[in-house]
Structures are given as structure tokens and as C-alpha cells.
């Protein structure tokens, strides 16, 4: 064998070895990533599974319609918290939706680029404010001056959580409305406010609704701001100027309490809450997706 041939062969061998090493690294990397993804996805199924298993066992008609019994007594339910949550969130949405719609329309339809961008930027930052801080805010704003915990102060806290979410989604929706539709309407001599009300908003309505639903779903699950605003209440109460029970707060109280019966009810309440939140989020995603397909 000539020297040249040996050299070529060893070069081949080296390339081959290098190539195999690169293949190996590729395999290891892919394997690692598959593990990561598996962990992330399985987390959902584990959490979901436990809530459905433990909550599904405990949930029944009495739980949804009855009032809480004193600790230790069997039976009873969480009806007051379900209704409380609904009232407080609805009041919050009533406050948040007009504000955020107004802000989004202002930013998008009367564009002063710098102002618009900074308002939008501020809204993005506001979504990062911890909910417990929002609760403190509502406490200092409403509870301290009025001197008592109330459902209403809870609504203010929820409204504050909802405003940036609704505003951002509304802004996105308005941005997607083609500008020639606006121009067509203006060219017919229709004033700006009517154009916005009759042309722009109806086109964007579906996306607006999705944004509001998302915000409501988010608020429904927030417990932290309720600790020192709505405060919780073991009795039936429809008056938002008094303390009210909410579902997430009730889960917290029951889960950290000492009674097994309470723990079961906490799982059941989580089950109900999870179903509401998941359905809302699936619906909104489906709506957004079919919108994107159009």
C-alpha cells in the first residue's frame, strides 16, 4: 500500500468519526428536547387529572346550590361563593370594558404615534403587575376610606386586572380592521364617531368579545386581590357593599383549613373553576383561530 493511500484512508476514518460524533450530538439534543416537551405537556395532564379526579368525586348538586354548613357538619355547598364571584366579576367587567374600549379606540383611531405607543406600552407593563399589589391598591382606594371590606372593592381590583388585557386585545382587533373601510365610510360624509360606532366596532366585534371573555376568565381565577377587598363571607349576600365570598378565595380558605371535608370542597370548587376557565379559553382560542383562517 502506498503512503498516499494510507493517508486518504485515515482521513476518511477521521471524517467518519467526526460525522458520527455530530450525529450523536444531534440525537442527544433531540432526545433532551423531547424530554423537556414531555415534561411540560405531562404537567398539564397531571394537574388536570388530579383536579378532575379529586374534584369530580366531591362535586354534586348540593355543593352547587347549598350554603356552607358550619365546619364539621356534613353537606353544604358553595353557592354563595359562586354567586359572589359572578357578581363581583360582572361589576368589574362593567367598569373595565368601557374604560379599555375607550382607551383602545382613542389610541388606534386618533393616532398620535408617540402617545399611542406609550399608552400601549404602559398597558403591556400593567399586565405584569402582581395581582396582590392590585389588591392592596383597591384596599387603599376603597376599603380604607369606606372603612369596610366590600364586594365592590373586589370589583375595582378585578377591573384593574381586566383593563390592560381588554385594552390590548381591542387594540389588536382595531388594528386589523382594514383602513379602506374607514375611508369609504368617511368619504360618504359620515362623521368619525359614527364611523367608529357603526363600521369599525361591528367588524372587530368578535375579537372584542374574545378579549373580554379572556379577561373575565383571568379575573375569575384570581384569589390574591380578594383577600383584603371582598374578604369572603360564609353567608348568603347579594349586596356588593358588604363582604362577599368568591370561589378562588374560598378554595384558599378551605385548602389551608384543617378539615378533610373542607379539602374535598376545595377540590370540587377547583373543578368547577377549572372547567369554566378552560372552556372560556378554548372558546376564545377557537374563535381567534377561525378568525385567522378567514
Amino acid at each position: 500500500m502506498s503512503i498516499a493511500a494510507v493517508n486518504t484512508a485515515s482521513a476518511h476514518l477521521a471524517t467518519d468519526r467526526r460525522f458520527r460524533l455530530r450525529k450523536l450530538i444531534e440525537r442527544v439534543a433531540v432526545g433532551g428536547m423531547v424530554c423537556c416537551t414531555a415534561v411540560t405537556v405531562s404537567l398539564l395532564w397531571i394537574i388536570l387529572g388530579y383536579v378532575v379526579y379529586r374534584g369530580g368525586k366531591a362535586v354534586n348538586w348540593e355543593l352547587l346550590t347549598a350554603l356552607p354548613t358550619p365546619p364539621g357538619d356534613p353537606g353544604g355547598g358553595i353557592a354563595n361563593a359562586l354567586v359572589g364571584s359572578l357578581i363581583i366579576v360582572a361589576l368589574g367587567a362593567l367598569m373595565a370594558v368601557p374604560i379599555s374600549l375607550g382607551a383602545a379606540i382613542f389610541v388606534n383611531e386618533f393616532p398620535s404615534p408617540r402617545l399611542g405607543k406609550s399608552v400601549r406600552f404602559l398597558a403591556e407593563v400593567l399586565t405584569g403587575v402582581p395581582s396582590i399589589v392590585v389588591g392592596l391598591f383597591a384596599y387603599a382606594l376603597i376599603v380604607q376610606p369606606t372603612g369596610s371590606f366590600s364586594g365592590f372593592s373586589g370589583s375595582v381590583a378585578y377591573a384593574f386586572i381586566m383593563v390592560p388585557i381588554v385594552m390590548i386585545s381591542t387594540h389588536e382587533a382595531l388594528r386589523r380592521v382594514p383602513s379602506h373601510l374607514r375611508e369609504a365610510s368617511l368619504a360618504l360624509g359620515i362623521p368619525v364617531w359614527r364611523t367608529i360606532l357603526w363600521v369599525v366596532l361591528p367588524i372587530a366585534s368578535r375579537a372584542l368579545l374574545t378579549g373580554i371573555l379572556l379577561a373575565v376568565a383571568r379575573a375569575l381565577g384570581e384569589a390574591a386581590p380578594m383577600l383584603f377587598t371582598a374578604f369572603g363571607n360564609p353567608f348568603w349576600n347579594l349586596d356588593p357593599s358588604k363582604p362577599m365570598a368568591t370561589v378562588p378565595h374560598l378554595i384558599y380558605t378551605y385548602a389551608t383549613g384543617p378539615y378533610t371535608d373542607w379539602h374535598d370542597k376545595a377540590w370540587a370548587a377547583s373543578f368547577v373553576l377549572l372547567i369554566v376557565v378552560l372552556i372560556t379559553s378554548m372558546l376564545t382560542r377557537a374563535a381567534l383561530r377561525s378568525k385567522a383562517d378567514e
Binding site: 433531540v30 411540560t40 398539564l44
Partner: protein, 285 residues
């Protein structure tokens, strides 16, 4: 408007404590309602440690998942994997807390007891292992909660990397992983850091789940197993017991500090993501 109102209002609420303690509040290590002495250092440290643990666990897992979803899964199958992750990001934190308290904490307790028995000679593993709740549990809980968030945002960022960049390297004979390692990750670096910082912000402000599994003890921790407060859990659990106005005011002061920290973090994250998308708004959540 609302933002200014928020800041002003918090300042008003905490003014009494600010006047009384000044900046010394931030480094004080006593929390004694009886002698009216309040300081916020231990919960701040608690927040920091738990968030660090959470990031150490969550960042590799989420970026790994994000790369896999963005580059390895065929387009049609992508939603099948990313959909559950997005749903996970939407689960209320109270449900995470409930799950953590009843399912995760017992598991962690077992692990802690085993660790202490076998590795107890390492100083930070020689703590009260049988509680279950504590620094480690809090960190794990946060890791589980921020993983889907970081994954979802990083995936969106990775998908903005021009496909041609990857294809060019593949055409030169690189393996897919080499292309991702050498081109995609450097290209998306700013955005990925933004995503991580956003996750960090979320973990710092997280309240309910941490209150439920963190142990809530006001002392500087010495080991991984010590129960400890974070700033948010401190506010949540002490507020109902705050009986006089300086006490309440101190808690609001702590809220103000927490707000300041998350605000800076959130600003930073938004700026990074914003710069990457060249003025287009990143759609979060």
C-alpha cells in the same frame, strides 16, 4: 392614568411606614408587631431564592420545549403539543396552589427526607426536611407555573427567526441541531432573555400558590428546606392580622417595593421583546 393612580395610591397608603422607617425598611430583618418594628429583608431574600430556583429548573426545560415545538414538530402536529401548554398557562394560580399543597408537597417531603438522610453533610441540605413546605417546594411550584409561560413566548419568538437562515446552514451540511445552536439561538437571544425575564417577573409577583406551599416563616433561610415567606405571601397572610395602621402601612410599603421590582423587570422584558420585533407589539398571554 390608571398607572399613576396606582402608584400614588400605594404611596399614600404606605406613607406612614415610609416616614417612620425610611429606606431602613428594605434592610431590616425584624418583623415584630408587638414592638412595632418592621423590616422587609427576609421576605425579599425568600422571593429571590425561590425565583432563582424556579428559573434554574424552568429555563432549560421551557427553551428546550420551545425549540422542539418550533423546529422539530411537523406543522400539522404543532398545535397538538402547544395547545396544552397554552392551556396550562391559563390555569388560575389558586389551582396550582391546591395541587401543590396536596399532591406535590408530600412528594417533595419524601425527596427531602431522603436527601437529608443521604446528603445531610452538605450544609444547605441539613434543614427541617419533614415540613415539606419551604424554599424547595416554593421554587418547584414557581418553576411549574412559569414553564408554560416562558415556553409559549419563546416559541413565538423562535418562529420569527427567518426560515432561510436555518435552511442556508442545512444546505452547507450542518445538522439541524448545529443550525439551531449556531444561528437560531444567537439570533433570538434578546427575545429569549426577554421571555425569561417576563417569567421571572411573574414568579416574583406570584402570590397564592407560594403562600400555600412556601411555609411562611419570617426568618432568613439557612437551608433548602426552611419554610420561608416571600414578599407576596407575607402580604397575603399577614394582612388579615394587621391590627393597627402602622402595621397595615408597612405591608402596603412592602407591596410598593414589590410593585417597583416587578415594574422594572416587566419594563426590561417588554423593551427586549419589543426591540426584537422592531416596534411591533409582542402579544403576550
Amino acid at each position: 392614568m390608571l398607572a399613576l393612580l396606582l402608584v400614588g395610591d400605594l404611596f399614600r397608603g404606605s406613607w406612614e411606614a415610609i416616614e417612620y422607617f425610611g429606606l431602613g425598611f428594605l434592610v431590616g430583618t425584624t418583623w415584630d408587631p408587638v414592638t412595632q418594628e418592621f423590616g422587609s429583608l427576609p421576605p425579599a431574600v425568600g422571593t429571590l431564592i425561590k425565583s432563582t430556583i424556579a428559573l434554574i429548573i424552568a429555563v432549560p426545560i421551557s427553551i428546550g420545549s420551545a425549540v422542539f415545538i418550533a423546529f422539530y414538530i411537523p406543522r400539522g402536529w404543532r398545535t397538538l403539543v402547544s395547545y396544552p401548554i397554552e392551556l396550562l398557562a391559563g390555569i388560575p394560580s389558586i389551582i396550582f396552589g391546591l395541587w401543590g399543597l396536596f399532591i406535590m408537597v408530600p412528594v417533595i417531603r419524601t425527596i427531602q427526607v431522603w436527601l437529608k438522610a443521604n446528603f445531610g453533610w452538605i450544609p444547605f441540605l441539613d434543614g427541617p426536611a419533614v415540613y415539606g413546605v419551604g424554599v424547595l417546594a416554593g421554587g418547584m411550584m414557581l418553576a411549574i407555573m412559569i414553564t408554560p409561560i416562558i415556553t409559549a413566548i419563546s416559541r413565538d419568538i423562535l418562529l420569527t427567526v427567518p426560515r432561510t437562515q436555518v435552511e442556508a446552514l442545512l444546505a452547507l451540511g450542518a445538522t439541524k441541531w448545529e443550525a439551531i445552536w449556531k444561528v437560531v439561538l444567537p439570533y433570538a437571544r434578546t427575545g429569549l432573555i426577554g421571555a425569561v425575564i417576563l417569567g421571572l417577573g411573574r414568579s416574583i409577583g406570584e402570590t397564592m400558590a407560594v403562600t400555600m406551599v412556601g411555609g411562611n416563616n419570617f426568618d432568613l433561610p439557612h437551608t433548602l428546606f426552611d419554610p420561608i415567606h416571600s414578599m407576596a405571601s407575607m402580604i397575603a397572610s399577614e394582612f388579615a392580622e394587621a391590627t393597627y395602621s402602622l402595621y397595615v402601612s408597612s405591608l402596603i410599603y412592602m407591596g410598593l417595593v414589590l410593585f417597583g421590582i416587578t415594574l422594572i423587570i416587566s419594563l426590561l422584558a417588554q423593551l427586549l421583546i419589543w426591540r426584537l420585533s422592531k416596534g411591533e407589539f409582542a402579544i403576550l398571554d
